[in-house]
């Protein structure tokens, strides 16, 4: 499949994860989110931006616990838990938020 913004095409795999990580931009994130029936709010961006920062450093999305801890530390304790992240990304923070952040899907027994 592919996403299209103003005539520009972004290739994605069968599940909607973009294939060229470098081509990601915020407009694309909004579009992917729309596809996932998510309206991006400031809270969503906090998570997406953290994922991208972590990926830049480690070439992988953070573990769920790393994510919850970092979000809790950065944006307040009430946000540092799984339930909060699932309320933002109902399909799972690891997979759905990664898709919106333009990162590859985490694989394995997860």
């Amino acid at each position: 499949m592919a996403y299209e913004i103003n005539g520009e095409t972004f290739d994605a795999d069968e599940e909607g994860y973009i294939t060229d990580i470098g081509s990601w931009n915020e407009g694309l994130a909004d579009l992917i989110a729309l596809d996932e029936k998510i309206e991006m709010t400031e809270e969503h961006w906090e998570v997406v931006n953290f994922l991208r920062e972590y990926y830049d450093e480690y070439q992988i999305a953070p573990a769920v616990r790393v994510l919850t801890k970092a979000i809790g530390k950065k944006f307040g304790k009430e946000k540092g838990n799984n339930k909060y992240l699932y309320s933002l990304f109902p399909y799972g923070p690891a997979k759905q938020a990664c898709k919106i952040a333009g990162l590859p899907k985490p694989t394995g027994c997860i």
Partner: protein
Amino acid sequence: MADFDTPELKDFLETPALCPGSMEHSKPFVAAPVHQEALGFPGELVENWQEKAIDRMGELLDTNRALRVYLDSCVKCGACTDKCHYFLGTGDPKNMPVARQDLFRKVYRRNFTTAGKYVPWLVGAEDLTEETLDDWYSYFHQCSQCRRCSVYCPYGIDTAEISMAARDIMDHIGIGQKYSNEIIGKLHKIGNNLGLPEPALANTLEGLEEDIEEETGIAVKLPLDVQGAEILLVTPSADFFAEPHVDGLIGYAKVFHAAGASWTISSYASEAANFAMFIGSQEQMREVAQRIWQAARDLGVKRIILGECGHAWRVAYSFWDTLVGPFDFLDPAYPMPMHICEYTDDLINREKLRLNKAANDEMTLTFHDSCNVARATSMGGRPGGQFEIPRAVIKAVCNNFHDMADDTIHEATFCCGGGGGLLTDDLTELRVKGAKPRMQALNAVVEDHGVTHMAAICAICKSQFSKVMPYYGLEMDAIVSLHQLVSNAIVLEGSIQEEELDGTGEDDEAGESLEAEDEVAAIDG
């Protein structure tokens, strides 16, 4: 939630009405050329695929005597028909184990038996057509290789072996499954299924050390790549990443700490899982297992302990020695391999761990026997040890435990619905429906015995349950790691938990004086 109906749970498990073809649309994504070629398979369907497939089938029959016996010995007695969770959850007759086998058997008969060659119409022999190949791809990816059917088969026919063979043949003609093959490629490249590179692993482990210290006040370590450590822990990479897996990993670390063990995780072999078993590839299975042998030797460890991973335990227990052995550099005084449950159980029996069962009092537990552990391995060097030891550990750390119905546990256990390389989002419908028999049994103890949580010792089971339980009205965190329970109960020396139980510990009779205070409080109250 989804474009299919979640099966309804009733008072007892019914044999469903037949719904022919109801699951023929279920097919996982096909591996891309890049995933195929990384494992040495053709990138896409080869031109002479029929010929190649039959050639490969012949090779498998020559090297795997069991496969030929399974194909020859079925008498169509029907004992297996209602034993598969995917049949029970979907009603599709091709999910009856015998029908699944027959998709393969008819091609075998046509090409490798005299009757099938000359009078195919008499013996149900058929050529491998495009339609059959399509059925293969669909229905051999609706078998989680759990082997429950083989328990009830009077001949012990193992559908898992047939489904592995079918997947291997499909890989060899260029149509592999994306989920498994992409993951195996990642393991070859990075060392684990997740693709978690060493710096990220180190960072994750450091974070967990901080968490444990915050919780207990004790600097419990999760050592990485420690040369000369005594124990190498090999655990599924999901233990580093997912919930509730990570709580199990914390449990192992606390147990090692309490035992004063010298242990390490390896960044080179940071994966216990061996997905090559799912695709039936001996060559890949050997390559994946080789990393662990190599890491153990390079680090100079004396023993290897496996974390909570079902099929990893099967591969280690049943295949390691012949695949990549000998492990003659390890200390023969210890079992090889050893399961983390055996390790913890031994410490409990020798009273080396202080356990506060009350820490788990808010839960009432049941235990899900993971299929590969239950039906393909043992523990403790005795028959049935694989059932007894995990339960013994749970009972040592929890006050409230109830088993599910007898015909759904031990060797009769129902698969979680996500094993055998099917734990992928493109098979969500199958996974939800296939979980029905287990959900039914769980629901019964929830209603009758107030069970609140189910413990498991397999990364796939844990992820599968946390995903499918909400479809059946259960909370996603109702699934827990067995060592998560140990982690909750264990009282480390000098920890905050010890202080809470014993008082400040300033005098040696702290425990007694606390009891005395309790009595006073009780009288006052």
